[in-house]
Amino acid sequence: MEDLAIKILGAVLTTIMAFTVGMFYGGFVRKLTARVQNRRGPVVYQNFIDLLKLQSKTTNIAHGFMHHMAPIWMIIASLTTLMFLPILNGNLWFPNISFHGDLIFLLYMMVFGSLGMALGAGQTGNPNSAIGVTRGLSQMVGFEIPFVMSLIALMIQYKTTSIQDIMIAQNESGIWNMFSNPFAFLAALFAMFGMFRYSPFDIVGAPAELASGPVSEFGGKYLGTMMTANSIFSFFKLTLYVNLFMAGAGNINDVGIVATLIAIVILLIKTFALYMVPVFYGWVSPRYRTEQAIRYFWAWPSALGLIGIVWALI
């Protein structure tokens, strides 16, 4: 019974942390982008204000049931993936439901939200949404290939499909995967650019082309809920990457509050550093056309992924 209570408490805590961190990261990015653009920029908690504003819209429109459901699919995907991902390395305070975190499961669960969102966008009947969805799905086929290659390389290297085990192994050997298998890391990093949809891979909602694409018809509470889901999801993605390639939050098995806090800080530093990579790249690159983006993923990143697999086999 106590175990269950801790689990529920942990789940709630994890959710809150992921949401807050994700929102703040978004705010930091906006602030930093503004600074790079010679501007002062909004306050770092601007995303919270936006969210609150969107949620306090008094009228909302929906084009039907799937439109109504689209943000829900996204929330489900974000939270479920988060729940099945080890946040801290076996820490008592952040247990997750499945302690190991299965890679194949997460891989499939990650597309749940995109597809649900795509269905909602489809129901609006807006041609821009439909075109945006075709772009997004096509791009997904692009970046999933190098991503899965790098995952396979990791699985080969550690003979496990569990994220937990990969983390522990890294901590034991003391070498992060980004150094022990740089090729796989690079392939995954390129895939990450596609996942975060910053330039040059922001082809899905490209405003100048599709007027924000799939989310064209989403406003108010729907947009707000999507924003929440996206924030949680970006924290999930970052933590997944950190777990896989940067040894998670380090080797902390202490149950104490201080140790937990240190672990969280380490995790935040790592995730933020990682997050900056696609953001930096996004600042200075124009947008690809869809087929160029797909070909990009299938060229160098996939080649790196293959090398990564061979590297792991050797």
């Binding site: 949620q55 009228t59 909302n60 429109i61 929906a62 084009h63 039907g64 049931f65 799937m66 829900i72 929330i75 489900i76 479920t80 729940m83 099945f84 439901i97 499945s98 190991h100 194949i104 499961f105 499939y108 669960m109 597309v111 749940f112 597809l115 795509a118 269905l119 489809g122 129901q123 009947g125 807006n126 041609p127 075709t134 799905l137 096509s138 997904m140 086929v141 290939i145 899965v148 396979i152 080969i156 003979k159 496990t160 499909t161 569990s162 085990d165 007027a211 064209s216 018809e217 108010g220 509470k221 729907y222 809920t225 056309r289 869809t290 087929e291 797909i294 070909r295 697999i309 086999l313």
Partner: protein, 623 residues
Amino acid sequence: MNSFFLILLILLAGAAISFALGKISSIISGTVAFLSIASASVLFFTQLKNNTYIEFPLGEIQLQWGIDSFGYIFALIVLGLGSLASLYSISYMQNKERTGIFYFNFVLVITSMVGIIFSQDFISFFIFWEIMTWSSYLLIIFNKKDVKEIGVKYMIFSAIGAYSMLTAIVMIKGNYNTFLISDAIQAGAFNFTNNEYIPILLLIGFAVKAATMPLHVWAPKAYSNSPMSFTVIFSGAMSKMGVLGMALVLVRIFTFNANNEAILPNFSPIILQQTLAWLGAITAVIATLYALMQDDAKKLLAYSSIAQLGYITVGLAIGTKLSVMAALFLAIVHGIFKGALFMVAGAVERQAGTTDMTKVSGLIRKMPFTFFTALIAIIALAGIPPLGGFVGKWMLYESLITESNSYFLVILVFFSSTSAFLYCYRFLFGLFLGQEEEATKDVKEAPITMIIPMLILSVLLMVTGAYPGILFDPIAKGMETIGFNNVTWDMSVLGNIWGNSVNMIYVWLTIVIVFIAAFIFLTLKGLKGTRYVSTKDISTSGEIPLEHENLTFQINFFQPFRRAAAPMYKRSMDKIWNEIGSGLESLFNFTRKIYTGNGQTYAIFVIAFLVLMLLLKDTLFLN
């Protein structure tokens, strides 16, 4: 009277009666067909015990029928899907002509498949196989569309399958002097050490029905051209007969050779295994690439069936415990979701007149139940948690990675299954989402007899997602029958040999809790201010679209993907076969002359071939 005969008799009687009643009323005829299949199913699952056999002589030849745990898996698909499909047919075929012939052949196909499952000897196996072939042939050309092309193609490939199978049977008779499957296995007929031709010929025979590349070219059009209520069976159950055969042969090859370690130097089963697995994966990739370019929902589903059969082939070919289990699980689940999807396509075809996705769209408000089925089935097809499809996919991946080290194969399979998201979305979007068009304004929901089977199948998909164990149970038993030891399974925990696991119940719990919470929040929040508007009220950059302007985005849906993957679209197997055909023009013409697309001539030739082979067996195959 023996249950075996009783079941077949009921089915045959059902076929005959529904044929006779077909002229009077299509509904009565359909009801009879449904009743006969349903009662046969009830009889089967209540009266027949596993591992019961009967033997009876047919002249000199000893025939053996029986049911083992392995056949039981397929009986589940055939009879379960058969009952639902025949229930579905009642409304689907309601206003069509020649329904007597349809139901006759429909029930006959079911009968022959049950017969195949019963058969424990090659002769009855082959006879039932041929009955299945030609009765399905009559159903393929039922719509009288493109008979020449589709029918002839089907016939030619069936003939290739039949002849190779026949040759193998004759060789077995020649080498081991038996027609009984169990005796042949005992004698090591499928063993590579003794004779590599027999298993390969048999595999070719089965691969035709399982639509494995390069023998798949008949399938897309045959699937999409038959009446949808039959395609449910055709794709959902009949293709699994090929899987049944392949499983039977492949498992023997790999397990036996693994024990004996006596492998022919020039053609080891590893090569066969790898070839088959890669063929399966390439089938999956190519079929997926084609599926996502289709504009007709039926064709899309047809290609998708081929792709899914590709995964099953991969699973069987890898031949480890988990992979075979995955393949068999996928076979059942594929039967369920593809059956559901073809039912959906049929319902749309019946209600809206066409399944051309460029013409139909926005049916979600008109056909909510059909959409629900389609959604569930598509999630399963895409292999997204938490439905049954995911379980199969997961096991397949885990077995490929952990047990067989086929890393590059995984990438191929994964590529195919990621690309599958594209056509999955296309199917849902094309038929149900998007603008509500004028042409489909008066469309109504399908009748209840079509809805019920669809909903049953969707519920099944959810149940198999949460408790895959209910399918693992028969599968594990069946696998033990064909030679695996200690097949372990859990009710809802999936595990691989590296010790990692996914608990489907937890997944379900999380999803359901989040879903309920989010749904309540999003629905109640600002409930008063939420309006449901029509799809006309969209932001078209402030402009007001004119009446005749089309806002539905349907044509060339995945053009950017196609452009990116252009090299992969350059060659198609169809073209290659045609090239081979034109290269051997005279032979091809000759074949075309013989197989005029008429079932009778086909049957005559097959029987003539059989007789010829039997007469010459001593001279030909005596080692």
